[in-house]
Symmetry: C2
Subunit: 501 residues, 2 copies
Amino acid sequence: MTVQEALKQLTELEKTRHAYEHAIGLIYCDAVTAAPEDSGRGRGETLGTLSGLSYEVFANPQVGGLLAFLREHSGELTPLQNRQVEMLNREYERISKVPQAEYVQYAQLLNEADTVWHRAKRDNDFPSFAPCLKQIVETQRRFAGYFDPARDPYDVSLDEYERGLDQAQLDRFFSALREKLAPLVHRIQAEGAPVDDSFLHQEFPIAQQRALSDYLMELMTIDRSHCSIGETEHPFTTNFNKYDVRITTKYHLDDMTNSLFSVVHEGGHALYELHTGDELMNTCLAGGATMGIHESQSRLFENMIGRSEAFVERIFPKLLELFPEQLKGVTPRQFYRAINKCEPSLIRIEADELTYPLHIMVRYDIEKLLFAGEISIDELPRIWAEKMKEYLGVEVPDDRRGVLQDSHWSGGSLGYFPSYAIGSAYAAQIVDAMSRDLDVPALVREGNLAPIVEWLTQRIYQYGKAKDPDELLRIATGKSFDPTYYTDYLTRKYSAIYNLK
Amino acid sequence: MTVQEALKQLTELEKTRHAYEHAIGLIYCDAVTAAPEDSGRGRGETLGTLSGLSYEVFANPQVGGLLAFLREHSGELTPLQNRQVEMLNREYERISKVPQAEYVQYAQLLNEADTVWHRAKRDNDFPSFAPCLKQIVETQRRFAGYFDPARDPYDVSLDEYERGLDQAQLDRFFSALREKLAPLVHRIQAEGAPVDDSFLHQEFPIAQQRALSDYLMELMTIDRSHCSIGETEHPFTTNFNKYDVRITTKYHLDDMTNSLFSVVHEGGHALYELHTGDELMNTCLAGGATMGIHESQSRLFENMIGRSEAFVERIFPKLLELFPEQLKGVTPRQFYRAINKCEPSLIRIEADELTYPLHIMVRYDIEKLLFAGEISIDELPRIWAEKMKEYLGVEVPDDRRGVLQDSHWSGGSLGYFPSYAIGSAYAAQIVDAMSRDLDVPALVREGNLAPIVEWLTQRIYQYGKAKDPDELLRIATGKSFDPTYYTDYLTRKYSAIYNLK
């Protein structure tokens, strides 16, 4: 076999894998946007079959041989080809360790779990979801054992979403956050100037909220011919290639800021995907680098831009046009303070920026306990309530607003949550660096977000998975990860909002 | 190999084929409902790859051998298994005659054609679509030559949608229609009592039209947990299995009857799929028998039920509730006459029931000419206009409202249109038989459509593809196909509406 022949086989392999991923990804996306509610069984059978076929294509000795051959000839490959081989090999090492039957069974389990979780959440019925979740946790722990039997299984899961991340680092990160943020929250509660957000709790017609989504996507320079918006229970972004990106949102009649920030958040994910390099298409290097880096981009737009005073000033005329009655007499400053009101609450995705990481800590603690086998699934509602009380001081009235609120666990994404907090911290560091080159608030106030997107494209977006998080942070900021930017940013922002001395 | 082993292989084959069909079907469905507009390229690559993989699974000598083995042992199979083998063999005979590269290329062509047609229709730009259509017609003619070189290629295409149908029969059918219906249309124009439908041309808010769709689906007893509704340019129904059915509609702000009858039409298709036998699932016998039989069910609900006076009486209170201003002072009788106004017009899907078959004849004539190679693609707009003038007496102002109006040709469905007219004729014959068992107007007036659905389930729906059209008609009506029921029905209905002597 020549290197040329091997590369041709590699392209063919990537093409086939991509086609299966596209089909499977669309089936999942459709399941939570357009599919009839009770259509999970047939979908599960199809997902099982396609997952099995996709597994067969990849997890077989020919692929192992091909990858070994290409690694031996790395000197004849371009850096991008070497990266591609390295990433595929990493995945091959993992996937080929999972028996095919278990792999297929797990795909079916996740499809079923999605339906079960949706119903359980609607009916506030945790026990109906518990057996599913139990199987998911057991499978993930077993898979972690296949991947790297010497390592702590939760570390294996964390590494899957954020290369290099482990519990030791996260323990340090979260304890740094706690040290800085807990006193800040207490000072706000004790001496902060009150924030009135009562005008946010009115009726906001869905048709107008849909028009607001269109406006926001345009403001963010999102190319609608390559990015559509759908509606779902738990908003997400997905893409099948860089020219076919989907964001989703959920409209709440009594709270238009929910969808507003959902669209800006998912829009940040979408911008990343839309601007990855063309040369990465149809390879395993297409798409965002890691979950942490992806979340840094969504949270950069949602919080550092979307919840800034400049952004509020920009969009306020549009808000007044769409909701003239509801916002009568409200000033941009009042609106800005209202959307940043610090108030410990029950729902993660509705939490303010400051208490948000505390919601993540609850989930992180629970995932650690689950992976360590120190608690049983049945205890989750109780432990959830205890942790929420401890970190946020709130009482959990039901599981719908407690342990059942997120889709991540039913989707098998254990180990994902920490990347939200890590992502926010990355974002603060990136915005600090961006601010040396650009007058970010001025651009936002002008409604000129293109230079911001371009800055991010040059330093982050274009590389897709071709670089690891630490390298991307170094390119963008000149430094390794440093959570101080995040705690400083939050302290500065919230001290100003609450007039803290 | 034992028969048991062969049957196990058959099940495995059907499962894999079904998974590919599910994925490919969803990709097409998503393309015209939720996908961003300019996402065709990546979708085309995936469809190409999946079509190739699906082709490899089916069109290979092992499958040929398996089917031959099972045919030799037909005495040991159940009637359903024999039918399954027979249908698969029929398809195997066809598909294995098409070279894989051409099969894949055609799937990609159709995906591209869909995007090109959408744009061409929007921009009223037939020349931009012509090269695509030319390739589609050429491919279909070439494929027909592979399938059955001795036969007229258009007959081969017709037979694909309606087993047994050919041009000789259709020529007779359409000439019978022309003989009865042309004088009827002329009499209406000359001496019919005028029909006022001006109140239908007002503004009908989309939100209310969406609520009407929900009401209609409930009235039709459509199980929403297994059937969702989406929005698209050219409404269609699709299903991935009997528990996952999708209908679509398009809302026109200035005409609520457009979506109303679209929902009832697609709802008819959906009822059929939802009530096919469970034992047919995951086999090639699942789903409607033929396009003609499928259209008979959609048109039975759209026209014989939906455009009946009883149906109008049933839904009128709901219409008044949703559109009180627009329908102020309108009586159910006036509404009934308005939705049945006979008026030769440009758009097939907006045509009244009586002039509708004339639209089909235009397309049938053109398809015959195209397959015979007697006209070129570039001449289509001119010939379309001439035929519309001849059959309907209308002038075609532009291609958007002419040759570009339908999605069928861009979807490769040449030979499909006649099944709409045949379906209407089947429907009239079926309703005649149903009326011997049930008081259809009384049930409709009561809003009790369940007995009608049950009657159809027993005689048509449950059999899926297990029986051919003629056998289904015999079961349902006791007779072979006879178009007289259709012409009699139209004559009776329209004479009454227009007070013809």
